[in-house]
């Protein structure tokens, strides 16, 4: 009896492992040995790892990075070899994953999220041959840096749109957790809204979790019930809950990270769209040229450099005059005429 039990348990556990592996299989670039040597440069492809805290199809923060990376991978062809890992969310899982890639001799490791920064800063010294980058981080060392979005400026534009189209004078903003760039985005949102209407009422909620879509939906429901008529969500899986609520209540919402208008074509007015390709490309070039250690070690996506874009507006949501006002703000940020501060 005991033996059968042990066997069942082992099978259950290995099934789970199997389930995990399904998504972890590294996407090896084909024929790495052949053409890479032809142009006489590095014969070995640059080995890159991308560790995502969520699912690569979350239509938001993770998917934007995943798609940016796959496009870069296609662009570089055999010169790079990228491995992807998903759902490394808990700090307890981050350290071993980062160590795994460093031990295997990866040249460049992307930890796509704020929570990767501390483990990476601790480990970086032990693996001097690997360059580590933290998404939305702020610390650097000899072989560790970060890439980030200047979400404050994206949030600012969202604030301007929200305040412009709001009829009740009440708008809302929903985020996962009060950290780094999310906070920046929210502060930018408030500043942008107040630049249009200084008396506007802004409701702000952190749901405490980046994945609990039902809770985010409850949050948005409550806001709409209280008279809020436009909500911006600052990203990740929870965004689905906000969009769903807007769809059911027939209200407007603004999205983050990726264009989510396909989810609710009548409700999504616009959104911040990240383009990480710029940051990824710069980082790869620095690592290839061996200039990382002496460089800035920080790669920014901003409205100015095209790393942050504004999704196409919903037709009919804004008058021509209003559209022009919003476009003017975007132009001013791009040209540097309007500077959005770093919020502390």
């Amino acid at each position: 009896m005991k033996k059968i039990l042990a066997l069942t348990m082992a099978m259950a556990l290995s099934l789970t492992l199997f389930a995990g592996c399904g998504s972890k299989a590294p996407a090896s670039s084909a024929a790495a040995s052949g053409s890479g040597a032809a142009n006489g440069e590095k014969t070995e492809p640059l080995k890159i790892a991308l560790i995502l805290p969520g699912a690569k199809d979350d239509v938001s923060f993770n998917q934007a990075m995943y798609e940016g990376m796959t496009e870069i991978e296609a662009e570089y062809g055999d010169a790079v070899e990228v491995s992807y890992v998903e759902n490394v969310y808990d700090v307890a899982d981050i350290t071993p994953t980062v160590i795994d890639f460093a031990e295997e001799g990866y040249d460049l490791v992307f930890g796509h999220g704020f929570q990767f920064m501390e483990p990476i800063m601790e480990l970086a010294d032990q693996y001097p041959d690997t360059v580590f980058l933290t998404g939305t981080g702020y610390l650097t060392s000899d072989n560790a840096g970060y890439y980030n979005t200047h979400l404050a400026s994206g949030g600012y534009v969202m604030g301007v749109i929200a305040a412009t189209i709001s009829e009740t004078g009440k708008i809302g903003v929903i985020g996962g957790s009060n950290v780094a760039e999310i906070y920046q985005g929210h502060e930018g949102f408030k500043a942008g809204a107040k630049s249009v209407n200084p008396d506007i009422a802004i409701e702000e909620v952190y749901t405490g979790d980046f994945n609990d879509t039902p809770l985010a939906k409850t949050t948005a429901d409550g806001m709409y019930d209280a008279g809020v008529d436009v909500i911006w969500h600052s990203g990740d899986g929870i965004g689905l809950g906000v969009v769903q609520s807007a769809k059911e209540k027939g209200k407007y919402c603004l999205t983050n990270a990726a264009d989510q208008s396909s989810l609710a074509p009548e409700s999504v007015v616009s959104g911040v769209v990240y383009d990480w390709k710029l940051a990824i490309r710069e980082a790869i070039e620095d690592v290839k040229a061996g200039t990382f250690a002496t460089g800035e070690k920080a790669y920014w996506c901003t409205v100015e450099n095209g790393g942050i874009n504004i999704a196409p507006y919903l037709e009919g949501a804004m008058t021509e005059e209003q559209t022009a006002t919003v476009n003017k703000v975007v132009e001013d940020i791009r040209s540097g005429a309007l500077e959005i501060p770093e919020y502390k």
Binding site: S23, N178, Y206, G222
Partner: protein, 314 residues
Amino acid sequence: MIQQIFTTTFFASVLGSAIRLATPILATSLGEIYTQRSGVMNLGLEGTMLMGALAGFLGCYFSGSLALGVLCGMAAGVLMSTVMAFLSVTMKANQVIAGTALTILGSGLAAFIYRSVFGLQKSPPQVENFRALPIPGLSKIPFFGDVLFNHNLLVYIIFALVPITWFVLEKTVLGLRIKMVGEHPRAADSKGISVAGVRYTAVMIGGAYAGLAGAYLTIAYMNSFTDNIVSGRGYIALAVVIFSHWKPSLAMWGSLLFGFANALQIRLQALGAPIPNQFLLMLPYVITIVVLVGVSKKAEFPSAYTQPYSRMER
């Protein structure tokens, strides 16, 4: 801010949300009451709910029928709990370990199946979910109409399970047998009742309820599936079962208390309460722990709780 709190719209909104947030926890905890009354603790609820959520979504997505979605969710729940019943009743495994393994299995398997079926998509597949079903007449009552009678069909069904669960456990032969194998399996055995059979039934009923709760999340409350849609609700349901002393009516109040605390903290944050949001986020859990501490001392666990039964042993 104070003026904004003491308005009927504020309370109607918070209480309505509380009911919707309580619903999946309630369904799962009612099912777990059957399971635990029979002497089995199913710790795998989190994974069972997630499999129910996935199966409910897939069933609805491919058939276009909400009813079929609900049935698929419940079937997946039963299937998952059968594994639990096999491990804990037939194999007499340690129930804590078996349940934990089941949760890990469920979360891995659900993510794997979802990805295999849909691949990588630009936007998540969606279904037409259950719409709010205002009850004619009653939903027009000021305040109470909004709070109680303006929900989707599954909310009404799950709340109707409270008296049904009570009735089955207290007034039917099956209920009596479930309690008997949970309190004194040897006595039940000597009366010719199949201890294993009753326990299998109780665990599978629990699985069906958890699967229903999962389906509620994906096709009634939301309209899409995400890997983390359950987000700990299975564990909260377990806490609610202990809190309720294995009584369906108390399980309802426990679920509502948690839902209310969660809905309240969110509204307080939105109104800009001068309390750091991290503290407000803790509120539902703190309340759950405080209440548990208060009532657990008096909790009388089923005598054969987590004890496998064997005719050979004394």
